[in-house]
């Protein structure tokens, strides 16, 4: 190896010197370097606002997602994300009813109660669940108001029945007072006092006519309770049909 000519060594030195410049120029287009990596050491990303200095513990607010209500949306009673039932605007009561949503006046929330609790559903203002479609008497608009009317009728009928019962009880109390007085009088004065039985009998018969009136009211009450049960059944049925048919978007 020591016999190599200086001419060959000089040629190799010139080739190396040229290749130091020629290789980067030739491979520059194919072997690129990431500009950010080139600009910053250790491959860190350059900040968007290089002059921003965040304070310790000061974070920008993170926007929360606003829940979107849509027809067909369903909630259980304990669901915190469901719209609030507003007693000022609702129709019906907390068991069965509906209300227009303040978030979107085109939407209504309907609800019904069964053995599993209260269930809520969002429907459009033209939904069959609400309007009843071809049968308006099957929609929440009609049935919730009908239920309210039956409630009022039941309260009135109970008042009437109890008024008759109260009168009947008072008359029976009178009958017992008359019988007690008759008993005491008979104790003291003998059988002559038994005429007091007539007084007691009169009060007793008067009480029976009041009982008849109370029974009539009781019969009306039972019919109303049957009606109420039917209406609540229709509301539950309409709700379940709505769950199956209401378009979800």
């Amino acid at each position: 190896m020591g016999s190599k000519s200086p001419k060959l060594r000089n040629r190799l030195a010139v080739l190396l010197a040229i290749s130091l410049f020629a290789c980067p120029l030739a491979l520059g287009s194919t072997l690129s370097v990431h500009p950010a990596g080139a600009a910053t050491p250790f491959q860190t990303v350059r900040p968007q606002r290089p002059n921003f200095t965040p304070a310790v513990g000061d974070f920008e607010p993170i926007p929360t997602a606003i829940p979107t209500l849509f027809p067909g949306q369903y909630f259980e009673g304990g669901d915190a994300s469901r719209p609030i039932v507003d007693e000022d605007v609702m129709e019906g009561d907390r068991q069965f009813g509906f209300q227009r949503l303040s978030e979107n006046p085109e939407l209504y929330m309907v609800w019904m109660t069964d053995q599993d609790g209260t269930h809520y559903m969002i429907v459009g203002s033209d939904s069959d669940v609400l309007t009843g479609g071809n049968d308006p008497e099957s929609g929440f608009l009609f049935l919730a108001r009908e239920r309210k009317r039956i409630h009022a009728d039941i309260a009135t009928t109970v008042d009437n029945r109890d008024a008759y019962l109260s009168s009947a009880t008072d008359l029976r109390w009178g009958a017992i007072v008359a019988l007690g007085a008759t008993a005491v009088c008979t104790f003291l004065a003998g059988p002559l006092c038994l005429v007091g039985l007539g007084l007691a009998g009169g009060a007793y018969w008067a009480s029976r006519s009041q009982d008849t009136n109370a029974q009539v009211q009781q019969n009306i009450l039972e019919a109303l309770q049957d009606q109420l049960s039917d209406v609540e059944g229709d509301l539950q049925f309409g709700f379940r049909i709505g769950q199956a048919t209401e378009p979800q978007s």
């Binding site: 008072d170 019988l179 008979t186 003998g190």
Partner: protein, 134 residues
């Protein structure tokens, strides 16, 4: 004879107790329905009867007197009227109305339960008295 007189005493006390309980129950029922004037009248009469029983003059008047056979009839009829009243008034399914507790219904049950107990005691005492006389 002594037992018969003691039994008469208890009978008259029970009669007063039935009248007072009946009146107080009716007053409470009327108040719960919002009929204040009717309730007040019933309450005043009941309190007057209670005062008469506690004062004791009527009870002493009858003390020591043996029961006449004729008195058994009105006493028995009192029991009949109370039982009839219980049948007409007692409705166990009326303790709630439209999902809320119905106070008049509860008052009716308590009133009738007390009356039936007192009437059972009255009939028991009447039976003992009849046996003692017989």
């Amino acid at each position: 004879m002594q037992a018969e007189k003691a039994s008469s005493h208890r009978l008259i006390i029970l009669l007063f107790a039935i009248l007072i309980w009946f009146g107080l129950g009716s007053a409470a029922f009327s108040f719960s329905l919002g009929k204040a004037s009717a309730g007040a009248i019933e309450l005043i009469i009941s309190l007057a009867l209670a005062a008469a029983m506690i004062e004791g003059r009527i009870v002493r008047l009858l003390e020591g007197r043996p029961l006449r056979w004729e008195s058994i009839l009105p006493f028995s009829l009192i029991a009949v009227v109370v039982v009839y009243d219980a049948i007409q008034s007692l409705r166990f399914n009326q303790t709630t109305l439209l999902g809320a507790i119905y106070v008049p219904g509860l008052i009716s049950i308590v009133r009738v339960a007390g009356l039936l107990l007192l009437t059972a005691a009255l009939l028991w005492e009447l039976g003992r008295l009849i046996l003692a006389k017989a």
